[in-house]
């Protein structure tokens, strides 16, 4: 390993009463990687995303982004350090237009002081126009140009997912966390999503995704980390993880895993 990882998590633990949602968890994501986090329902994947993005605070352990600790920062401070995310259960600003949703995502990058806002002088107009231009480009990039001025809540499910990705990209993140981006998508939408993720990877945006669509994960991702009952049970390239007995057991149960092994042997 040459460069320090972009995201590095060590000994992360989150407990709810006596139950550990995440226990002694380590993870690192290198710059430019497209990694996945998989695991059965309730394994703690979304809890982990909430810890990384600062919506919940860990009980133990540390999270570093770009070499600096971020685990005591507020969500907005983490966004400022280059972290963006989407949500499993879409969280768009439903009454605002698609383009405004993206503009909120750009919040950290749109200039204009209060004085400039109140006088409409200086950078204000220029900054707002530049922001709208950039937002248009992002919407075009995710394929939502026709819906620029539609209220976000009126878009189809697949479009809402893509809009959320556009909003997250608007923050120009170093690391993008995608929580089940393909959930509820039809095959055509999933194919479009795969192309989108490939385009993002080509732009060298580092991504960590939680996903249940195994064909998408296996085809696309560099490293897969498998989580079960809050613990890491496997980690590695797709082929190694697919063949891992612990992973089979987690998904299929002990007997199911034996059955699959018997079939393939």
């Amino acid at each position: 390993m040459s460069a320090a990882p972009l995201l590095s998590i060590k000994g992360l633990t989150l407990r709810y009463g006596g139950l550990a949602a995440i226990e002694d968890f380590d993870l690192s994501v290198t710059e430019g990687a497209l990694d996945a986090l998989i695991g059965p329902n309730g394994a703690g994947k979304t809890s982990l995303f909430n810890l990384i993005s600062g919506l919940t605070r860990q009980d133990e352990g540390e999270i570093c982004l770009g070499g600096a600790r971020i685990d005591r920062l507020s969500p907005s401070q983490r966004a400022r350090r280059g972290l963006a995310r989407t949500f499993q259960n879409l969280r768009l600003f439903a009454e605002m237009t698609a383009i405004e949703n993206v503009l909120v995502g750009m919040h950290l990058h749109v200039g204009g002081s209060l004085i400039e806002i109140l006088t409409r002088l200086g950078r204000f107009r220029k900054a707002e126009r530049a922001a709208v231009e950039a937002a248009r480009e992002l919407l075009a990039f995710v394929g939502l140009s026709p819906s620029e001025y539609a209220p976000a809540g009126s878009l189809s499910y697949g479009d809402q997912r893509r809009l959320e990705i556009a909003r997250a990209l608007a923050a120009k993140p170093k690391l993008l966390l995608l929580d089940e981006p393909a959930a509820g998508m039809n095959p055509a939408e999933t194919a479009a999503l795969r192309l989108l993720l490939e385009k993002l990877r080509a732009q060298n945006i580092s991504m960590l995704l939680v996903e249940h669509d195994m064909s998408l994960v296996m085809r696309l991702c560099d490293t897969i980390t498998v989580l079960n009952f809050g613990r890491k049970i496997a980690e590695g390239p797709p082929d190694a993880v697919r063949a891992d007995p612990a992973v089979m057991e987690a998904y299929l149960g002990v007997r199911g895993a034996a059955h699959v092994r018997g079939d393939s042997a």
């Binding site: 963006a84 600003f93 919040h107």
Partner: protein, 282 residues
């Protein structure tokens, strides 16, 4: 000035002053509701501003603009003290704490001889004319309109729609919430000072829970999509009791019924328009 207009202004001077003052109160309520927070302390902030400026007028020779500044800064300090512990928590804590502030203020004002006790303060010089009241209202409306049509207004609306999504997009929630509460306290304090210097009399019971709910209803009836919604709510709710005066004892019943119907059938308020912000429409 034509005699007829002069007569009109003279006859309705207290109503005209109230319209302006209530407009400012509605804007102060708008600032908090626009980011999805519920404060029931607008009446208390108003009372603090009213008493602070009235006491300064009665006991010192301070220039009036400085008194108005004090009437904004002292409520702002109260807002900081209340906001610091409550704005971190989500839910009803801010509403509860601000109700508490209102009650504390009322009891303090009744008990304290310095503030005139239950009799209140009278003989406050009438320094706030229509020009000043409506000048302040126009300035506040313009400032809020410009802010809602900027990245700040966009962030405020985002907080109102989904706090969590706004936070991970980089919107500094604690800062926005505190600023909104402080600005709303300053607007309410200004309204209180103008009212005290227009009506010449203030009493401890003018700033209780009833007044807080009335101010809240301006914004709820008018809508919080833009500052104009709250202003329209204040206009209607200030004029309605006067227009319904011929109904005599039934006017409060009809007044209440109109509010209930409006809230039920116009969930976005009388003025549901979204701000003309860049990106809000083609």
């Amino acid at each position: 000035m034509p005699a007829a207009l002069d007569d009109f202004l003279w006859t309705y001077q207290s109503l005209i002053a109230s319209l302006g003052v209530n407009g400012l109160l509605a804007l102060s309520m708008y600032v908090v509701l626009a980011i999805g927070q519920l404060s029931l302390g607008q009446a208390a902030f108003m009372g603090v501003g009213a008493y602070a400026s009235a006491l300064l007028s009665l006991h010192t020779g301070l220039p009036f603009p400085l008194e108005l500044a004090a009437a904004m800064l002292i409520p702002a300090a109260f807002a900081l003290a209340i906001g610091a512990p409550t704005l971190r928590l989500s839910g009803v804590y801010l509403a509860l704490a601000t109700i508490g502030l209102g009650e504390l203020l009322r009891i303090f004002l009744i008990q304290s001889d310095f503030t005139g006790g239950a009799l209140g303060l009278s003989g406050i010089p009438a320094k706030a004319g229509f020009t000043l009241i409506y000048g302040c209202l126009a300035a506040a409306t313009l400032a809020l309109m410009l802010i809602t049509r900027s990245r700040i207004g966009r962030a405020m609306e985002a907080i109102r729609e989904d706090e969590t999504a706004a936070a991970v997009s980089g919107v500094d929630l604690p800062r926005y919430k505190m600023t909104a509460l402080v600005v709303s306290a300053m607007l309410a304090g200004l309204a209180g000072a103008l009212n005290a210097h227009a009506s010449s009399f203030i009493g401890p019971n003018d700033y209780g829970f009833d007044a807080a709910v009335t101010i809240l209803s301006y914004a709820l009836l008018g809508g919080v999509g833009s500052p104009f919604g709250s202003l329209a709510g204040a206009l209607v709710l200030t004029l309605l009791p006067e227009i319904l005066r011929p109904l005599q004892d039934f006017r409060l019943v009809v007044n209440g019924a109109i509010i209930v119907v409006a809230v039920l059938y116009m969930p976005h308020g009388l003025i549901p328009w979204r701000p003309l912000r860049i990106g809000a429409r083609p």
